[in-house]
Symmetry: D2
Subunit: 295 residues, 4 copies
């Protein structure tokens, strides 16, 4: 199948390469030549622009940094929607504001072009190992059409609802994740300040009602679990600035739809303070350092 | 075995009855005569005071409302510690401040009386069904001595560490639980305000990094899960005022040991506001109503 | 002077009437005919559209509900900027996002049309009594040109800086005001829960380091001060939903410029919860009711 | 008049010296010999214990670090209350928990000994310059008896109500002050992130509804005001750890009297984080550094 892949960054490039490996003809585009070159080296082709990459493609996939890039690439007279044929399927894998996803897909629908939003979780490791989770919004027929391709790049494909629902799930889940991580850090620090062994405390809470993903699989206290970012100086993993971006999307979205998010807002501000202290590129479990012990 | 059981409330009475059922000779005491009568009806005996109940008992179990009651019953020249023989094992199952638990057990140790703290989770249903979880602090030999009795009243027995560690785990776990519940409520409300089906959102987050005990087993949105308090108008379960008490213990403890608990403190204040609006006796998942939708 | 006045709502109408009273020829426009009629009754004229009202006007003043209305009225080929002559001075008195104010005035500058942002505080009473405070952003020469007109509608004219600075000051000030109000409510409730007379407490704090505008001039506790909304069931004054809007602008702005606003964000969420409980039209000092006493 | 002064720290010593200067016979006691020596050098006497200092004194003044010291010095068979004669007036100037103040003065009343609580604000500069503010709780006759002495040490004497009311006002006022300071820091940082001059922003807000003590007299942004701690690297003034102690008292008190203090609790946690990062001895306006700009 002819596939266009727009946005060959740390996530997009390995995703595009996985499609090449699966036997698809992938034409990529990225502003950074080195990234485009890497796709060619893996057996893909490159084009001089997003629209040029999309010419003749049955499916166009985008993986872009933020809402404004998605609007720039899709909308307007020289955007992907205007250039698409009625047979094209547009798949936006970027993590953006749900309201922007709804707007872009609504314009796409006016042009009779099929579009779904399909943000991912799983990080660069998931992109490379084709083990990403896709949270997908759009019509069932379009999602089903995309599914075989998404399965080449990921392991779990969740159909969340109509257009924008993929972004909504991503935003809700990651806001909750930010809260789980800080809450877990607070509980561990509180126990340790009482003299508790954080390993014992983690084990008991993992079998009790404090159980959550951050505590069980991604413990923020160094030494409690092997193979977590916390046990390698918070390197690797999901960065503070990415969590901060997602919490920002959640708070912005809450303003737009008039939702109350007191813990989510506080989590965003704590991550903002943490990032400004120079921890932006550390793993997000490093918030354990901001919730510090008295020395 | 001769057992004294002080405090026959909604939790203590069924716990004591489970010990009677297991063949033990249980002498109880409670200020409320009707509660004491219920123990007699179940085959136990009653005494006129805590110390009278404890006379001749090998094990004394207490289940009291708060720190001040534990201090009143255990300490002083007419308290349980002064009255205990060197062979008595004292087991405090109340949920109280870790610092008070450490203080009382330290005084007990000065008197050469064995004592452990063993707060529970699982609510009245767990007390009746003997499926409570015990979080235990104290010396290993004392915990092992208590274990056969605790297993008559509960399912999981966690030895958390030295004296006070049981209370510490309880406080940390329940603070985290309060945060999980509010965070889950916020995430669900945010998704719903974007038009998402809360059932679909819950399913996807339960398989993603937002996964946590409140979301999976105790979903706060009515209709998402059967057999949860949320699906029966927030009746039954673990009450708002009990969660508020536990969050108060956590915040007070954090002040004492100099810990930062920003989300835990905010959770306490939100539950306080919720309680004052008349929801104190509802299940704690009813915080979903405070984190309301725009009507 | 020929003046166009777009947006004749609760604020805009009395402002426009004050300009009529000062001898100016005011042509208004509003989507609501009754509001336009009221201007005519006061000696003004009405036009069929914003652009029609602006035709021939030396100064065009807008008073609109939100950012999107300002963008709709000013921008595009049929907007006020495109229709303006190089001699026109545009004055936007709406309270909107600073980034939108900067964007609109930047487009205006590209068209060589003078524009300033001049949001107000003082409420409907200030608009009627011509005692508004104007916070103005723009070039000094444009601000000086506007000043004589603004003085017909208000008492204090602050030149805050370049374009957008008026909106920035408004957003910062009102975020701080929301924090002052909740903080004052908390301090008074805490004192009262200790048995203090809120009047005595207010008097002492007003002479101490807790002194602030909300405490001294707008006390949220009923009975402490006469002639405050608190002493007339929180009627009149500055509504909860207006404060909620301004806190939303502050939080949104903070996301855009990457600022930490932990108390501001929490204030927004508390006002959001308060509004959803049916208090949207009460005065914003009614947050004292959310920060309730235990009954 | 014969006066005993217990607790000759950074605050107590200059207060005692001011009483010596006013012609009183002051006998002091402090665990630190150097402090006691300094009182002697200034014309006072020292005693070997608190009770020895109080022997024969008409008025006993205490200035101690925390609740537990006050309980230790006043209560018990060897405490000040037991040793006091019915003619003695006890004045506790320490800043402690209102509930402890109420308890101690209640025990004093049982012994028919007059006692008032009279915590101060104004810092070491106020203690040295005799410009302290006293917030006093107790019976009017006792307060009036103390007034001439308090006026030798301070400028403003506020009678807040019955026993404990002095502590209550102190706790409420300082919680509010902590909120004012962080809120002001947030507003200034938000403005600056939008390009505003913090001096202009401060001036306008000081004339608007954002007006408050921290903004006007103690601006946390370096360079905005001369002679503030912010303009001398946050040295001098009221330390972070003192504010943290007072916010801790407020939160603890709120737990005890069942009050909601969401902003107060968040302020406590932000100051706790700030202190743990090594800023404990800086002036409390240095929270402006935690609410940082993106570099």
């Amino acid at each position: 199948m002819n596939i266009a892949f727009i946005g060959l960054g740390n996530m997009g490039l390995p995703m595009a390469i996985n499609l090449v490996k699966a036997g698809h003809a992938v034409t990529g585009f990225d502003l950074a030549k080195s990234q485009a070159d890497a796709l060619v080296a893996a057996g893909g082709k490159v084009a001089a622009s997003a629209v040029a990459a999309a010419a003749g493609a049955e499916v166009v996939i985008t993986m872009l940094p933020a809402s404004r890039h998605v609007e720039a690439v899709y909308l307007g007279s020289s955007g992907l929607i205007a250039a698409a044929s009625p047979k094209t399927l547009l798949i936006d894998c970027s993590t953006i504001a749900p309201e922007v996803a709804r707007k872009v897909s609504s314009i796409s629908a006016e042009h009779k072009v099929a579009m779904i939003d399909a943000p991912v979780s799983g990080g660069t490791a998931g992109a490379q190992g084709a083990t990403l989770t896709f949270m997908v919004g759009g019509k069932t027929e379009h999602v089903n059409r995309a599914r075989p391709l998404l399965e080449k790049m990921g392991k779990n494909i969740f159909h969340a609802g109509d257009s924008g629902a993929g972004q909504t799930v991503k935003v809700c889940n990651n806001m909750l994740l930010g809260i789980l991580m800080i809450g877990t850090a607070e509980a561990l620090r509180l126990g340790m300040a009482n003299g508790m062994d954080p390993k014992v405390l983690s084990e008991i809470m993992s079998k009790s009602s404090g159980r959550n993903w951050a505590l069980e699989l991604y413990n923020p206290c160094p030494g409690v679990m092997e193979n977590t970012p916390a046990s390698r100086n918070y390197s690797g993993g999901f960065g503070v600035d990415l969590m901060l971006k997602d919490l920002g999307l959640a708070v912005e979205n809450a303003l737009g739809v008039s939702a109350s998010v007191p813990l989510g807002s506080l989590a965003r501000n704590l991550y903002d303070i943490h990032s400004k202290q120079g921890s932006g590129t550390l793993d997000f479990s490093s918030i354990f350092k901001l919730i510090a012990a008295r020395s």
